[in-house]
Symmetry: C2
Subunit: 322 residues, 2 copies
């Protein structure tokens, strides 16, 4: 009896490219928009080369609570490096990282955060950094779900990415997260190649003769670009050079990207993920320190942008166990 | 008799994807490298997603003498704008631009050059800038060849770009030129989409409500990134995130990009275009103010990188009249 069941499942999947989305307005709106811009002869037809779709990462493609996953990496990296930095045991913000005093760490503010990021993300070659992030992702577990972080990608969004690509959209990440951090897993997890990942970055320095005698790029401690807030439309302009047709975000940091997308001529599709599911994931918006969604929620309501209610609209949340 | 002739020409073209290259070592080396990395089962096989090919623009994909074409645009733009800037008639470096005193302009140095670029490239939206560059390219003529600048793309390089793409290479521009300037023509002339053009950039500023009531990106006067010299490997890392398999350049500003490419594991292909053809194009290298080729020529000889001798290796130079 197994074979017919498998065959039936395959038919169902071919018929519905978004099986992890509940039937409802968002799923319907996605299908309608894609059909509208891809049907040849349609008044709203858009050529494949203009089918640019952009996605925020944290809270849009994978989870971001209780702290950004890249920050969890930074904390683990500071712990590892502390063996060669004994002075960190008595110096803020590093001592707060080492003792797990997140409150004191938060009190050190943006400056403290930048110090932790710089110490954990620089002074090595880009290739060594990739290896270190890869090892961390292969072993580190999320504190609540006890899953690898890459298993906390959102299954409905993976299906959406695949569906859009099947309709000749080019999918990009446009995230406040570090570009080199995301690139380590974006291709395998999201099917998004490195050259389509846009994010914040620190400077790199080219050295014609590195420690192994070969040319190297060394990661420097100073910030080069923050791809958040009004940085997102600038990042899109700099890296893509076309205005997106479709944009998904989940926080106030995405508002300018959504406005820029919506402001283009012709059909555009903008959507917000609203985290409403405390049981399966997390419920947060206007008061959250991570992924605050306040002004963008008001604007989405005003402009009638699509608001995806995770609890209502997603049949399944995580890719875990796939 | 016309039909058989056309058919014969089509066969010849199918048989040789590089008809504007003379038979010789460079043409042979290109074919051999591409076969080596694309033949499945070959020890040096490279998956399509890793087939990244990068090309400098000025002097590599199109001409750059007697002045960079983008600088010719800047001069014309300053002349246009001078009607609303009467003070420019008496202020360096603008008065030197207006009177055509290139020597005085050169004497104003890097600072003067930046002033001319800022005045001609900022204070407008990204979309207006695209329109202005498009109009200029449609009408402006090169002083010697009396051709539109886009007709001075190198036919052998257009064939090479097409050939590489037919072999599943992804082709990128990595140029010191302005990214927004190049994107106006790169897709139509080179078949390279905006998101695969990497270049120098000035900052842009997002404005939620522009003069027409819609969101806008305004081009700002300050430089954000110089994609030249050691900036090229950093730009490749930031925009592509993979090390190229193949790189072409023509000047010392390309040396770090060529070193970074050559330094990768496995097969790599790096090449320099040597401008040796005063009759059909220009002849210049170690002493040239534009496109100086000195250290990179020495290094190419030392490392036995491919050096393309324009006069010897190219049957045809320009795409003009195509
Ligand atoms: Ca987010
Ligand atoms: Ca050049």
């Amino acid at each position: 009896m197994a074979a017919p069941l498998v065959a039936a499942a395959a038919v169902a999947s071919a018929a519905d490219p978004l099986p992890s989305w509940n039937d409802g307005a968002p799923k319907k709106a996605i299908f309608e928009f894609v059909r509208r811009v891809t049907r040849e002869g349609s008044a709203d037809y858009i050529a494949p080369r203009e089918r640019i779709a952009v996605f925020d990462n944290d809270g849009t493609l994978w989870a971001e609570q209780p702290i950004y996953f890249q920050f969890a990496f930074a904390i683990d990296r500071v712990k590892t490096l502390s063996s060669v930095h004994p002075e960190w045991r008595t110096t803020a913000p590093f001592k707060d990282v080492l003792t797990g005093d997140i409150k004191a760490l938060a009190a050190s503010g943006k400056q403290g955060l930048l110090q932790v990021m710089a110490a954990s993300h620089s002074g090595i070659t880009t290739e060594d950094f990739n290896t270190i992030v890869g090892s961390w992702l292969a072993t580190a577990k999320h504190p609540r779900f006890q899953r690898r972080y890459t298993e906390l990608a959102y299954q409905p969004m993976l299906e959406l990415l695949d569906y859009l690509r099947s309709q000749d959209f080019k999918t990009f990440i446009v995230s406040g997260g570090g570009v080199e951090f995301m690139r380590v897993f974006a291709e395998q997890v999201y099917g998004i190649p490195p050259e389509q990942v846009i994010g914040s970055s620190a400077a790199t320095k080219f050295v014609p003769v590195g420690t192994d005698g070969k040319p190297a790029l060394i990661k420097e401690p100073h910030v080069e670009f923050i791809d958040d807030g009004i940085g997102k439309p600038s990042g899109i302009n700099r890296f893509i050079g076309r205005r997106p047709l479709l944009a998904f975000g989940n926080s106030d940091g995405d508002l300018p990207m959504l406005q820029w997308t919506a402001g283009g001529a012709g059909p555009r599709f903008v959507a917000l993920i609203h985290h409403t599911d405390a049981d399966r994931e997390f419920a947060y918006d206007r008061q959250s320190a991570v992924g605050k969604l306040d002004k963008a929620l008001d604007e989405a309501q005003r402009q009638q942008w699509l608001i995806i209610d995770m609890k209502r609209d997603w049949l399944r949340v995580f890719s875990a166990g796939k």
